[in-house]
C-alpha cells in the first residue's frame, strides 16, 4: 500500500504536525463538550490556571486528564501493535491476539471479584501484572528452538480463550454491582480517569517510544526474514525479545489504566502505514499519534453520542475496527 504519501513526497513532519493539530482540536472538544458544556474562552482560562472555580474543577480535574489518559492509552496500544506486527511479520497481529488483554482482564477481574475491598488505585498494577504474565506465557510456550511468529499467535489465542472462560466464570461468583464494574472495565473505558492515572502511565511511554525509535532499524531488518536478518548481523532472539518486551510494556501500561481496548493496536499501524509508508522510523511516531487520536475521538463520541448514557470507548473502537479488520482480511486474501 505504497501511496504518494508513503514515497516521501509528503514530509513526515507535515503528517506528524497535522496529527498533533487534530489531537489538540479533539482534546479541546473533549474539554468543552459534555453534559455540562463549557464556553471555549472559559475553558482556555481554566486550562491556563485562572478560570472560575466551577469550570476549573470540571476542566482540570475531570475532562482534561481524562482526555490525556485516553490519548496515552491509544498511543501505548498503537506502539505495541506496530512493534508486534513487525516482529510477527503479520499485518494482522495486535496486543489482543497475543492474549495480553485477556491476561490483564483475568487478573484485574479476579482482584475486583475475589477481594471486594481491593483498592481501586492498585487495579492498574494488577492489570499490568496480568498482561505481563500472559505475554511471558505466550513467549515461553511458543518457544521451540527459536520463536515462530505463527506459533506465537496460536498460543496467544489459546491463552486468551482460557482466560476468557475464567473471567466469565468469575462474573457468576460476584454480586451484580461488581460484575457490572468488571464488565465496564473490560469493555475499555476511561470513565473517571484522572491525574492519578495519567502520571504513572506517562513515564512508560516517555521511555518506550524513544527506545522503539532507537530499535526501528532492527525492526526493519526483521521484516526481511529470519535468515536474512541473521545474515545482516542481527542477534535475532535478543532483538526480538527486546522488542517484544517493549510491546508488552507499552500495551500493559495502556490496558492497566484504560481497560481492554481492542483494535487500536491493529488499526493505528495500518492507517499510519497508509500515511507514511512502512519504514519503522517513520511509522512509529505516526502510529503513536494516530492511536492516541483514535481513542480520544472514540471517547469523545462515546460521551456525547448517546448522552446521558456513556458508551465505553473500547466498544466504539471495536465497532469501527472489526469491519476494518475484515476489510484487511479481504484485501490480503491472496497472501
Amino acid at each position: 500500500m505504497e501511496t504518494r504519501f508513503a514515497q516521501g513526497k509528503v514530509s513526515l513532519l507535515l503528517v506528524l504536525s497535522i496529527l498533533t493539530a487534530l489531537s489538540a482540536i479533539v482534546l479541546f472538544f473533549q474539554i468543552i463538550l459534555g453534559d455540562f458544556p463549557i464556553p471555549a474562552a472559559d475553558a482556555l482560562q481554566a486550562l491556563a490556571g485562572n478560570g472560575s472555580e466551577r469550570y476549573d474543577l470540571v476542566v482540570n480535574r475531570f475532562r482534561f486528564p481524562r482526555a490525556l489518559v485516553a490519548f496515552l492509552a491509544g498511543a501505548g496500544l498503537a506502539l505495541s501493535g506496530t512493534i508486534l506486527q513487525g516482529i510477527t511479520r503479520n499485518p494482522l497481529a495486535s496486543p489482543g491476539v497475543l492474549g495480553l488483554n485477556s491476561g490483564a482482564a483475568l487478573v484485574a477481574v479476579s482482584c475486583m471479584v475475589l477481594f471486594p475491598n481491593f483498592p481501586v488505585g492498585a487495579l492498574p498494577f494488577a492489570a499490568f501484572a496480568g498482561a505481563c504474565l500472559a505475554a511471558t506465557l505466550s513467549y515461553f510456550l511458543a518457544w521451540k528452538r527459536g520463536l515462530s511468529p505463527v506459533r506465537l499467535v496460536l498460543v496467544g489465542v489459546g491463552i486468551a480463550a482460557s482466560a476468557g472462560a475464567f473471567v466469565s466464570f468469575l462474573l457468576t461468583f460476584s454480586d451484580l454491582a461488581q460484575a457490572k464494574r468488571a464488565v465496564i472495565w473490560m469493555s475499555g473505558s476511561v470513565y473517571g480517569r484522572s491525574w492519578e492515572h495519567f502520571w504513572p502511565m506517562l513515564p512508560w511511554l516517555a521511555a518506550l517510544v524513544p527506545i522503539a525509535l532507537l530499535m526501528a532499524r532492527k525492526l526493519d531488518v526483521l521484516q526481511l526474514g529470519d535468515s536474512l536478518a541473521v545474515g545482516l548481523g542481527t542477534r535475532l532472539e535478543r532483538v526480538r525479545g527486546g522488542l517484544l518486551l517493549a510491546a508488552v510494556a507499552s500495551a500493559g501500561a495502556a490496558v492497566a489504566m484504560a481497560g481492554t481496548i481492542g483494535f487500536v493496536g491493529l488499526m493505528a499501524p495500518h492507517l499510519s502505514r497508509f500515511l507514511v509508508g512502512s519504514r519503522s522510523l517513520r511509522l512509529i511516531p505516526t502510529a503513536v499519534l494516530t492511536g492516541g487520536l483514535l481513542v480520544m475521538l472514540a471517547d469523545l463520541l462515546g460521551r456525547t453520542l448517546a448522552a446521558p448514557l456513556e458508551i465505553p470507548c473500547g466498544i466504539l473502537i471495536a465497532v469501527i475496527g472489526a469491519p476494518y479488520m475484515i476489510y484487511l482480511l479481504f484485501k490480503k486474501r491472496n497472501h
Binding site: L154, A161, A165, V183, G314
Partner: protein
C-alpha cells in the same frame, strides 16, 4: 473393524457408567438403589425429586452436549482440513450469546424457547461469516486465516455483547450465568425442545460420514472421486449448526470439547472419519460428563461450571497442538 466396533461398545458402557455416576454423586450423594427406584417407583420423596428434576436432566444434557460439540468439531476439522477448527473458533458461542442479548435488551425478557431459537440463528450466522472470511483467496482455509477471521468476529461480537450488558443491568444478571457455560438449572423442558435437533444433527452427520471422509482427503481428490463437494459442504454446515447451535442453546458456551476431542479420536482410530465421527461423539459425551462431575468437587463450597473445567483442560491442549504443528 471388529476391534473398532468393540471400542464403540466399550465406550457406550463407559458413557452409561458415567451417566449413573453423574446421577448418584453430588452435594448430596444418593444411593444407586434409591436413584433406580426414583425412576421406576417414584414416591415423591426429596431424594426422588432431586434425581428426577435435577440430576437426570443434567446428566442427559451433559452427555448430549458433549457428543454434539465433539461431532461438530470433527465435521469442521474434516471439511476445512484444519486442525484448529472447532465451534468456538468459528464464533458459534459468541454469535449465540450476542443473538440472545439483543432481544433480552430490547424486550427485557426472552422465553426459554425464544433463546434457543436466537441461539441457533446467532450460531449459524457467525459460523457462516467466519467460514466465508476464512476461505477467501487462493490459500484456502489456512490455520492462520481461520484464527484471524475467527478472533476478529469473536472480538467484535464480544464487544457488542459487552456493550449491551454495560447498558442494561438486568441483561447482565441473566447473561453472566449463561455465559459461564454451566449445566445446572437447565430445564428438562428446554432440553426436550433441542433434543430433536440434536438427534437430527447426529443422524445427518452419521449418514454423511462417508462423504465427509472423502472430503477430508482434499478438495481435488474428493472431486476426482465424483463427490459433489459444494453440496457436501453445505450439508455439513447445516449439520454443524444443528449440533453446535443446539449445544450452545441449551448449555451456553462450553469451549474446547469440539476442538480437542476429534484429535483424541483420530489418535485412537486413525483418520477414517467414518470411525472418527462416532468415536468423537462417545468421547465428547464422556469428557463432558466427567467434567461436570469434577465441577461439583473442585471447589467444595460452590459448584464451578463445566465450561470452566473444559477450558482448563482444553487450553493446554491447544497450546500443545500449536507447538507440535507450527
Amino acid at each position: 473393524m471388529g476391534i473398532r466396533l468393540a471400542g464403540i461398545a466399550l465406550g457406550l458402557v463407559l458413557v452409561a457408567l458415567c451417566l449413573c455416576a453423574s446421577i448418584v454423586y453430588g452435594k448430596q450423594a444418593i444411593p444407586a438403589v434409591e436413584a433406580y427406584r426414583s425412576l421406576f417407583e417414584f414416591d415423591g420423596s426429596r431424594e426422588h425429586l432431586i434425581v428426577r428434576t435435577v440430576r437426570v436432566p443434567r446428566a442427559l444434557i451433559a452427555m448430549s452436549v458433549g457428543a454434539c460439540l465433539a461431532m461438530a468439531g470433527a465435521v469442521m476439522q474434516a471439511v476445512t482440513r484444519n486442525p484448529l477448527a472447532g465451534p468456538e473458533l468459528f464464533g458459534v458461542n459468541q454469535g449465540a450469546a450476542f443473538a440472545i442479548v439483543v432481544p433480552l435488551y430490547a424486550f427485557g425478557h426472552v422465553s426459554a424457547s425464544g433463546s434457543v431459537a436466537y441461539a441457533y440463528l446467532g450460531a449459524g450466522v457467525a459460523g457462516a461469516v467466519v467460514y466465508l472470511l476464512g476461505i477467501m483467496g487462493t490459500g484456502g482455509l489456512t490455520p492462520l486465516k481461520l484464527v484471524l477471521a475467527g478472533s476478529t468476529i469473536n472480538l467484535l461480537l464480544g464487544a457488542l455483547t459487552q456493550g449491551l450488558l454495560v447498558l442494561d443491568e438486568q441483561s447482565l444478571d441473566t447473561m453472566r450465568f449463561w455465559l459461564a457455560g454451566s449445566l445446572t438449572g437447565r430445564s428438562s423442558a428446554a432440553y426436550a425442545r433441542v433434543l430433536p435437533f440434536m438427534l437430527a444433527g447426529i443422524a445427518l452427520t452419521l449418514a454423511m460420514s462417508r462423504h465427509i471422509h472423502t472430503l477430508s482427503l482434499g478438495e481435488d481428490t474428493a472431486r476426482g472421486l465424483g463427490l459433489r463437494t459444494g453440496r457436501v459442504k453445505g450439508t455439513s454446515l447445516i449439520a454443524v449448526v444443528l449440533l453446535a447451535g443446539s449445544s450452545v442453546a441449551i448449555a451456553g458456551p462450553i469451549g474446547f470439547v469440539g476442538l480437542a476431542i476429534p484429535h483424541v479420536a483420530r489418535y485412537v482410530v486413525g483418520t477414517d472419519y467414518r470411525w472418527v465421527l462416532p468415536y468423537s461423539a462417545i468421547m465428547g459425551a464422556l469428557l463432558l460428563l466427567l467434567a461436570d462431575i469434577a465441577a461439583r468437587f473442585v471447589v467444595p463450597s460452590q459448584e464451578i461450571s463445566a465450561g470452566v473445567v473444559t477450558a482448563m483442560l482444553g487450553a493446554p491442549f491447544l497450546i500443545y497442538l500449536a507447538q507440535r504443528r507450527a
